[in-house]
Symmetry: C2
Subunit: 211 residues, 2 copies
């Protein structure tokens, strides 16, 4: 079935939102922890976190300042720090609930039953129920010109993860850590490993790798 630009533009608004949100494929599911200058905590589920580089170690995400995520961006600009925490099979419902439009004076941690914990080396709140916790410092923030979203880039300054899932070559078995993913706006999925493949080279066939 072909949908043209006109077909897309003429879609019912809710239909269009679900349809377009499904197109990019499976999305990472992460909780962004932040606080304002008065130490009011915030927690927001974000499905647009992406890897940006290993050296320096950078991660980015897209923030929609007109949504329930609005306090995340203002907090990060105010304090310069935030955390990224993975969403797992055992708490994805609570993670999803952080997307409700709570007032700035309400902490999504308290409202959803997720627990803030702190590191000695980083100011922003981590999520105790997460199995991967990453501390970041803001390094770049810019508005996407074409729509009212913001690109936020952080430098990784701390990682907290159990060491028995880190493989010899540095790969972290995020499946074993019960990490889930999102499709569309609101569908949660777990994963099943198909295969690990060796670095692709011209003139050879893809080779399976032991993880």
């Amino acid at each position: 079935m072909h949908f043209s630009l006109t077909d897309i533009e003429n879609m019912d608004q809710r239909f269009k939102v679900n349809f377009i949100n499904s197109l990019s494929g499976f999305k990472s599911a992460n909780l962004i922890g932040s606080m304002d200058a008065n130490d009011q905590h915030n927690l927001a589920i974000i499905s647009s976190v992406f890897h940006l580089g290993a050296d320096p170690a950078l991660m980015g995400f897209i923030n929609r300042p007109d949504s329930a995520e609005r306090h995340t961006l203002s907090n990060i600009i105010e304090t310069g720090v935030f955390t990224i925490n993975n969403v797992t099979k055992t708490m994805y419902k609570q993670a999803h609930q952080t997307s409700a439009r709570y007032a700035k004076s309400e902490s999504e941690f308290e409202q959803t039953g997720l627990t803030p914990i702190f590191s000695n080396n980083h100011l922003a709140p981590y999520v105790e129920q997460s199995t991967i916790r990453i501390g970041l410092e803001l390094v770049e923030q810019s508005q996407i010109k074409y729509n009212n979203t913001h690109l936020v880039i952080g430098k990784i300054v701390e990682v907290i993860v159990q060491d028995n899932v880190i493989k010899k070559d540095g790969y972290i078995d995020i499946e074993q850590l019960n990490t889930v993913m999102v499709s569309g706006l609101d569908n949660y999925h777990s994963s099943q490993r198909l295969e690990r493949l060796a670095y692709a080279k011209v003139g050879t066939k893809p080779q399976a790798l032991v993880i």
Copy 2:
């Protein structure tokens, strides 16, 4: 286990690349189809495609011009068009193989056995083996200041997908379309639906939704 900024900076280079690439969670797996002004085709697997907005319908991805992806960016700037095609369970090995450093005069389609197909309404090549095919026009391209990567944003102008997986409210069941995802640099996974959850509201518990 805590890793500090110093621990991260002192990691062996290959270990660091695998470790940091694992942190963002599961990534979408897509093939970007493009061509230069002489109609030389290119196909590149990219794990950083993300949803950017539904109205206008936008998608973005991160391009590393110093990697095997280098021809993708120059092609898109040259012709202004590209396609995004999902990676499926039946051809993820061929998709992975597109990341080998083929010369510009070699088409990754031919080299990996994936088949280019064309629409009457869009110039860039689609992948016949994909079950979601998206045609896009370049609308914005900018360098990330902090490292040598580029943000590429396209406007969706065509979508080709079978209609029996599109739900009444517009959600596309990408799991039924055998869409796979990536973790780390080179791990491929299939998905298993946990649940669809209703729009989160203050004062209610997360409710399951029929998909």
